[in-house]
């Protein structure tokens, strides 16, 4: 049987992707150059400003950093904030593949 929401006001439990797979809103895709990214180059935790500034919380602060493209809307803030200029926003990246 279908589980229906019986709330009288709009609310939901916080969960990954509760607003849908927002990655398909994206025009420009962040592409990481690991030859420039400080964490990758130094092989240790670094600035992680991309992780800090991402409004969607979809940057994983690891070595190397990872961006979850299922939910990335392509805003470009990570590219703008990166002190090493390691992230480039590429238009219609998926269409090229």
């Amino acid at each position: 049987m279908e589980i229906k929401d019986d709330n009288i006001s709009a609310m939901c439990r916080p969960a990954v992707g509760e607003a849908g797979k927002t990655g398909d809103w994206r025009d420009a895709t962040p592409v990481i150059d690991h030859g420039k990214c400080i964490a990758s180059v130094k092989n240790r935790p670094a600035c992680y400003l991309c992780w800090l500034y991402c409004p969607e919380g979809i940057v994983k602060a690891g070595i190397p950093i990872q961006i979850d493209l299922t939910y990335c809307k392509g805003c470009g803030i990570c590219a703008e904030e990166c002190p090493a200029r390691a992230i480039t926003m590429v238009m219609h990246e998926e269409a090229k593949k």
């Binding site: 709330n7 009288i8 969960a15």
Partner: protein, 401 residues
């Protein structure tokens, strides 16, 4: 033993809130509502009311405090007037859309420009479509009793309630008011149970973006679309009529005072003409009806007590066999007519009632409305109706040339 005190309408509203043991009060002062929350602030400061009094920088913030406090399960009260209410407008929608049983005392005052501190009902009428229940009171006793009733209505149907009463005419006029026994009020009003229990162990996103369509969330639960949520609110307001009537009935049984459920009537049974209105102008109309009867005209009064939800059926019943209807009101829906007149006509249409409806816009910005003037207006309308004029809009006591 009954406890009768001489008090203003604003004191009566404050007393109503106190007896309901409100837990959070937030307000920003504005004439003529200021002394409602001033009185409450005093009680809180002296420890006579165990409530959190939250001071903020604007009415917009007042309603956000009310929304937040009500969401986590507190019984919430506030009061405002005129520009304060207009400044809350966005948050009024937010309160209703979140289905929170907030009670607000709206002390009716005209709206600028130009500035006026005096009474009419333009402020609350302008909030008609926010999803709030609106109740209009005609004397100070009714204000106190209605605040208490409003919490029971609001917490049952999960809709906010605006208790409206005329600025100065009631807010600053002293009348004898019986203060009900606090324990009896507790028996009448069960504790507030929020529709959702919020807990850090079970966090929620409240009012996230909602789409035009229904959608399955991350857990696979089918969520309403925006329109489905709007229907639930409309359905709740439409359904609140029965709760309003039952609440009034229960209150009358317990406290001996019945202010009418959705509407009240005065000498209406054998009437040939019915005067209609909301709030103090309807009280004034009862004196006008007496004057008309002294002059041989069988007049009566229909007082609309609950304006939203509109008493559709009750209005049809009250006006069913009446040859003439005269509506007096302290608001104007610019570019059309008085809001009450338009709504009464709309209700009659569905029942095929063809009675002429004459509309008087009166008392805007505190212009005095005397019973004799209402009686005279009704007389001239009856003459015009006899001459075949089915519709008429008149600005009473106003230079219109």
């Amino acid at each position: 033993m009954s406890n009768v005190q001489i008090m203003t309408g604003n004191s009566a509203a404050a007393w109503g809130a106190k007896l309901c043991k409100v837990q959070v009060v937030s307000a920003y002062p504005i004439t003529p509502s200021t002394s409602v929350t001033e009185t409450i602030a005093n009680w809180v400061e002296r420890g006579e009311l165990k409530a959190e009094y939250v001071r903020v920088e604007s009415e917009h913030s007042v309603m956000t405090v009310c929304v937040s406090a009500s969401t986590v399960g507190a019984r919430v009260f506030t009061s405002t007037s005129s520009h304060g209410l207009l400044y809350m407008h966005e948050q009024l929608h937010w309160a209703a859309g979140s289905r929170l049983p907030i009670v607000l005392a709206c002390v009716n005052r005209g709206v600028g420009a130009p500035w006026s501190i005096f009474n009419d009902q333009q402020d609350s009428i302008a909030q008609r479509d926010t999803g709030w229940i609106q109740i209009y009171c005609r004397d100070n006793q009714e204000i106190l009793d209605t605040v208490i009733q409003s919490y029971r209505i609001a917490e049952q149907v999960y809709c906010p309630v605006m208790v409206c009463y005329d600025g100065f005419v009631l807010s600053h006029t002293m009348m004898p008011v019986e203060i009900p026994d606090a324990e009896a009020v507790c028996r009448f009003l069960p504790p507030y149970k929020p529709h959702t229990i919020l807990s850090p162990d079970d966090p929620r996103n409240i009012n996230p973006v909602i789409f035009p369509w229904q959608r399955r969330d991350a857990e696979g639960v089918l969520r309403d679309g925006y329109m489905d949520m709007r229907w639930k609110l409309q359905h709740a307001l439409e359904g609140s009529r029965d709760v309003v009537v039952q609440t009034c009935r229960d209150y009358a049984e317990l406290f001996g005072r019945d202010h009418g459920g959705m509407l009240w009537t005065y000498r209406a049974d054998d009437a040939d003409v019915l005067l209609a209105g909301m709030g103090s102008i309807a009280t004034e109309a009862t004196t006008a009806a007496d004057l008309l009867r002294e002059g041989g005209i069988q007049a009566g009064v229909v007082g609309i007590r609950v304006y939203r939800p509109f008493p559709r059926e009750e209005v049809r019943e009250a006006f069913r066999n009446i040859p003439a209807i005269v509506v007096f009101e302290k608001n104007i829906s610019y570019g059309y007519e008085g809001a009450l007149s338009a709504d009464i006509k709309a209700a009659l249409y569905g029942a095929g009632i063809q009675a002429p409806v004459h509309n008087y816009i009166a008392g805007l910005g505190g212009r005095d409305v005397k019973a004799g003037e209402l009686a005279e207006a009704a007389r001239s309308s009856l003459a015009a109706i006899a001459a075949g004029k089915k519709e008429q809009q008149t600005w009473l006591n106003c230079v219109t040339e």
